[in-house]
């Protein structure tokens, strides 16, 4: 589904400095696979998402999505960001249909699907509420609906639960898995939480910073559906500490 080959990205600052964000990154994501990218801040995780979606061009290397070379943004993708960034003048339903409107499609034709999604994400009854009337977790659910309404095959999530409190965050992780079971998508999910990365993913891509490189890719064989208790499982703990030491050892080298 996604094929990233020898991709490098170098930013040029206003002072003409060159800042390497990611360097010679290779990985693949299969159809309907849930892949998490984990690493400390500054390792180019978010850049990688933008590269895959075509929002920023690669400096070197190639990215293919569904055999198509990515050269510009394409609409077969749903975005969820760290902050919900909803439109305050639109209702929940209006915000979900925002994607449809920007895609130039008829909103009326998607109203029923929007209502289904709102129900699926546990927001039934809130269709006509405004964002300011919702909690942070609920706003993020709306953002997830907005990313799914046009039924994209690829879902890109950039630390989507990073701004939520710990309890809501955990709840949302399982919610996302439940939604994903119902609406299978290929998901590329960026996080800096190692337990979150393991709990959600089929595979965890571990990145190290400056410049962002892929350190290792872990297959997660924990059975699905995932449950909270798995965090106490021995396999989980081993993976957790392995990934942690991988990230921290690279940090020491860097300093």
């Amino acid at each position: 589904m996604i094929k990233v080959e020898k991709v490098s990205k170098i930013y040029r600052t206003q002072e003409n400095e060159l800042i390497p964000a990611v360097e010679r990154v290779n990985f693949e994501v299969k159809e309907n696979e849930f892949v998490t990218l984990v690493g400390p801040s500054g390792c180019g995780k978010s850049s990688l998402l933008k590269l895959v979606s075509g929002l920023i061009p690669v400096t070197d290397g190639t990215i293919h999505v569904r055999e198509q070379l990515v050269q510009e943004p394409f609409p077969d993708v749903g975005f969820v960001f760290q902050h919900p960034v909803l439109l305050p003048w639109r209702t929940v339903l209006g915000n979900v249909l925002f994607s449809i409107e920007m895609l130039g499609k008829k909103e009326e034709e998607f109203a029923d699907q929007a209502r289904d999604l709102i129900k699926l994400t546990g927001l039934a009854g809130f269709e006509n509420k405004y964002p300011r009337e919702l909690s942070g977790g609920m706003q993020q659910r709306v953002a997830i609906c907005r990313a799914l309404i046009h039924d994209p095959s690829l879902l890109l999530m950039d630390e989507p639960f990073g701004a939520l409190d710990a309890m809501t965050r955990e709840e949302m992780s399982f919610e996302l898995l439940r939604i994903w079971e119902e609406r299978r998508k290929t998901i590329l999910f960026v996080t800096h939480s190692i337990p979150e990365a393991i709990l959600l993913a089929d595979r965890v891509v571990v990145m190290t910073p400056r410049p962002g490189k892929i350190e290792r890719i872990f297959e997660i064989t924990l059975p699905r559906p995932r449950v909270y208790e798995m965090e106490f499982n021995e396999d989980f703990k081993t993976l957790n500490s392995e990934i942690r030491s991988l990230i921290f050892s690279s940090r020491k080298e860097a300093s």
Partner: protein
């Protein structure tokens, strides 16, 4: 009340600072002519304000969308803003004559800067995520502007309008001070030169009421246009 009481106690001469009773009486006496003068100042103010919105808003859009233009124009705008308008008002009157047009232009010059700055700040502050989202849906720049960026910037736009309307009143009066034969500014100047302090104060009070009413009208429009910011309203 206390103002009135001070006169009885200290016997302040009425031609220096008049008592409220005197102001009211004289203003009432002049009411028909004051209505005409108020009307003149009002339409000079609104004319200058309309020009500020009509020119300031597109200018702000251009500044945000075109970095080259921004780098070229912004310093000029700041320089233009730092020239005291009171100082150039006489020159403007010389060029454009003593009619209403010169007052409208002074009001415009005083009022347009906050509209440009506030609108530009609002437009530049669109969350980058929403711009990324719109780009990934391949929505045009124009559509993104209409559907996302401008509505997002509306609270900033309105705060610019609120500052601009009060400045436009000042601009119109400054223009009238410099040279005119109508308007509340003219009333103040001519009344003081004839020692009619009561009337001058009456004109000042009408002017203040005018500014407050215009400001509140914008507040009401803001609440109608963007009710979602209603709870955060501060003024």
């Amino acid at each position: 009340m206390s103002w009135e009481a001070l006169y009885l106690i200290f016997q302040i001469p009425q031609f220096v600072i008049p008592a409220p009773s005197g102001i009211l009486a004289e203003t009432w006496e002049w009411r028909y002519r004051l209505v005409g003068h108020t009307w003149v100042t009002l339409y000079e103010t609104l004319g200058g304000f309309a020009l500020s919105v009509g020119i300031g808003t597109p200018l702000a859009v251009m500044l945000v969308y075109n970095p080259t233009l921004r780098n070229a124009l912004y310093p000029l705008l700041v320089i233009a803003q730092s020239i005291p308008k009171v100082a150039i008002a006489p020159i403007l009157l010389l060029v454009m004559g003593a009619g209403e047009v010169s007052k409208i232009v002074v009001a415009f010059l005083v009022a347009f800067f906050p509209i440009v700055v506030d609108t530009a700040t609002g437009l530049a502050g669109t969350p980058s995520e929403l711009i990324d989202l719109s780009r990934s849906y391949r929505a045009s720049q124009f559509k993104t502007f209409i559907k996302v960026r401008f509505p997002m910037a509306l609270p900033f736009f309105f705060s610019g309008l609120k500052v601009a309307i009060t400045l436009a009143v000042i601009g119109a009066v400054v223009g009238e001070f410099v040279g005119s034969d109508k308007g509340l500014g003219y009333v103040i100047v001519s009344a003081t030169s004839y020692w009619k302090a009561n009337l001058a104060f009456g004109a000042i009070i009408i002017l203040s009421i005018l500014a407050i009413v215009l400001f509140e009208i914008i507040v009401v429009i803001e609440k109608i246009v963007c009710p979602w910011y209603g709870s955060e309203q501060t003024h």
